[in-house]
Amino acid sequence: MRLPTLFCLTALALVACGKSATDQVAASGEMVVRIGAVAPLTGPQAHLGKDNENGTRMAIDDANAKGVTLGGRRVHFELISEDDQADPKTATIVAQKLMDNKVAGVIGHLNSGTTIPAAKIYSDNGIPQISPSATAVSYTHQGFKGAFRVMANDEQQGHVLGAYSVKNLGAKRIAIIDDRTAYGQGLADEFIKAARAAGAEIVAHEYTSDKAVDFTAVLTAVKGKQPDLLFYGGMDAQGGPMARQIKALALNVKLVMGDGAHTPEFVKLAGDAAEGAYASLPGVPLDKMPGGKAFSDRFVAKYQPIQSYAPYCYDAVNVMIAAMQKADSAEPAKYLPALAGISHQGVTANIQFDAMGDLKGGFVTMYQVHQGKWQALETLGAAQ
């Protein structure tokens, strides 16, 4: 029993070693450049993680099909996809794994809570990192040169959400629920600042977790404070059931959420309680972007309907490759300056980074569920 197991493990280890040793130079003399991608591929947010992976994979397949040459050699991009389970501890472990695998750059992570601790590991190794979806302000404010994002941050998004809730939706008494993650909490904090500045009163602030499904207790507590608007800082997996429970408890509020809930999954889970819910998504609606419609048609044909961040992942990869082409090298130290100064027309935005690594002039669009679909209401410039 023991010996065969040991033998299998050794064999596995050998296979694994053999793989990493040989594909440095692929058969045709191509140079292999590895790009790491991290998202939760298991757990409650696995559907979003898979969506991210697909977006990243599509960009890499496109680049390989098109053919990229760096330093006179043809490059074959290889995707190394890792699962961080949306867990900050696991995130640092897989980040280290990517470093051991010698990736040239990282697309990820999906959540702010995982991106922030992992950024230190990438930075220590001098590896550029572009997060498609981590919106917490602190991610790019840790002083790391290689940390970028292709989406407006929570300061921008929270500001738009808070101001919109008060000015356009007429909220006066606002209740807040957040999921205690770096993302949910950060967005809620920015929302509160903006809503207060616009003159609304925060009557309750309750909390849940990113794994919960029952919110009746906190919603009942909120109900006692008689708010007219409820802001939820968190993801779709909680937002959906929450919308249902709001309806079941006859809690008469407008439901407003951030980008984490702007998914078809939210609508599916909330059922008819989804109708009328609001959510924001950084960027301009995809169908208004040049190449946006073509991207989404191609993506849907190849994988499945876009959940949320796939186009941002697609852009993140393309920005990284564009910087490599500009520097004519996949050496992190060489293409990092090019990345910092890049201007690239993507499917979600014209991507340029500010000194922090944040997206310059990020727009935020408000959406509302109308007849079972997210419909864009209006795109607002993000005030800095």
Binding site: T42, A46, K50, Y207, S209, A221, L249, E265, K268
Partner: protein, 307 residues
């Protein structure tokens, strides 16, 4: 007042769900002294099977009122098979191994089931179709709906039925005998393997019912749903005294009530110093307090050889 009443209802519903799942943990523990950590996953498989069966039957044009019980029966059958398989493959070969071994296989089974479910049913959330009109009832300002009432009643009925099985039937006598002393039971002509298999199958059938109830109540099914539910239900079972059927019910209801009242009132009681983020802390604090004074749980009896 109506807010308080609503919190009590929330707690009772949530607690009944915990209790339903906790019964499965406690039954297996009572007889084998083994914590079946895969039980939460069986609940998930039950929900998924029921959902698949339901979708298929509605697709064939069956009326929802017929399809719902049919799919429940199918899910129960599927879970019983699964429970039998788990015991046969992961626990029976280790029955005389050190305590830690079956605990590790239990965790292994749970990971395997989760990943299998992810492969079969995908990573996405499945919305549970709203088939029966779910009427809301107003009681003194608080709201409770049909599904919630069914959940509370189901949990009670199942607990009573289980107690009847354990205390009134031949099978129950065999179960108690095996719990007391496997070896002696065997010498007295009890088919120990059969009794243990049946226990697992019963527990898994309950898990299927719990899975369906949870899915209908929250309107969703997901391959990961068993994890947190299993953890909470296990806590409830320990709180009530693991191995004791009434304890599982009491522990479940208590945990549900503590959670909802905790989440609802901590903020106001501490003047905003602590909020609903402490609801789990609160629940586990109560658990620790109970275990310090009553290590075997509220209704548990201390069994010398299992201490």
């Amino acid at each position: 007042m109506e807010i308080f009443l609503q919190q009590i209802i929330n707690g009772l519903v949530q607690g009944s769900v915990y209790a339903l799942v906790a019964l499965g943990y406690t039954m297996v523990y009572g007889i084998l002294g083994l914590i079946n950590f895969a039980h939460g996953e069986v609940v998930m498989v039950g929900a998924m099977l029921a959902l698949s069966a339901l979708t298929a039957m509605i697709g064939w044009g069956l009326s929802p009122l017929l399809a719902l019980p049919l799919s429940l029966i199918l899910a129960m059958a599927g879970c019983m098979l699964l429970g039998y398989g788990i015991e046969r493959i992961a626990y029976r070969p280790l029955r005389h191994a050190p305590r830690l071994a079956p605990l590790i296989t239990a965790i292994g089974v749970s990971i395997v089931l989760q990943n299998l479910a992810m492969m079969i049913w995908g990573r996405e959330y499945h919305a549970f179709p709203q088939l029966i009109a779910n009427q809301s009832h107003h009681i003194a300002g608080a709201i409770i709906n049909d599904i919630q009432i069914i959940i509370i009643i189901m949990a009670l009925v199942i607990m009573l039925a289980l107690m009847a099985v354990v205390h009134r039937t031949r099978l129950g006598r065999a179960m108690r005998a095996v719990a007391e002393n496997q070896h002696a039971a065997q010498l007295m002509g009890v088919d120990v393997n059969r009794v243990i298999s049946v226990t697992f199958m019963l527990g898994s059938a309950l898990a299927a019912i719990a899975g369906l109830m949870v899915s209908v109540n929250y309107g969703l099914a997901h391959y990961y749903m068993g994890f947190l539910l299993g953890l909470k239900a296990f806590t409830a079972a320990v709180l009530g005294g693991i191995g004791n059927l009434r304890g599982a019910m009491l522990g479940g209801l208590l945990l549900g009530l503590i959670e909802s009242l905790g989440a609802g009132y901590i903020g106001d009681l501490t003047g905003g110093f602590m909020g609903s983020q402490y609801q789990d802390v609160f629940a586990f604090f109560v658990l620790i307090a109970v275990l310090v004074f009553r290590p075997s749980g509220l209704l548990g009896e201390r069994l010398a050889e299992r201490a």
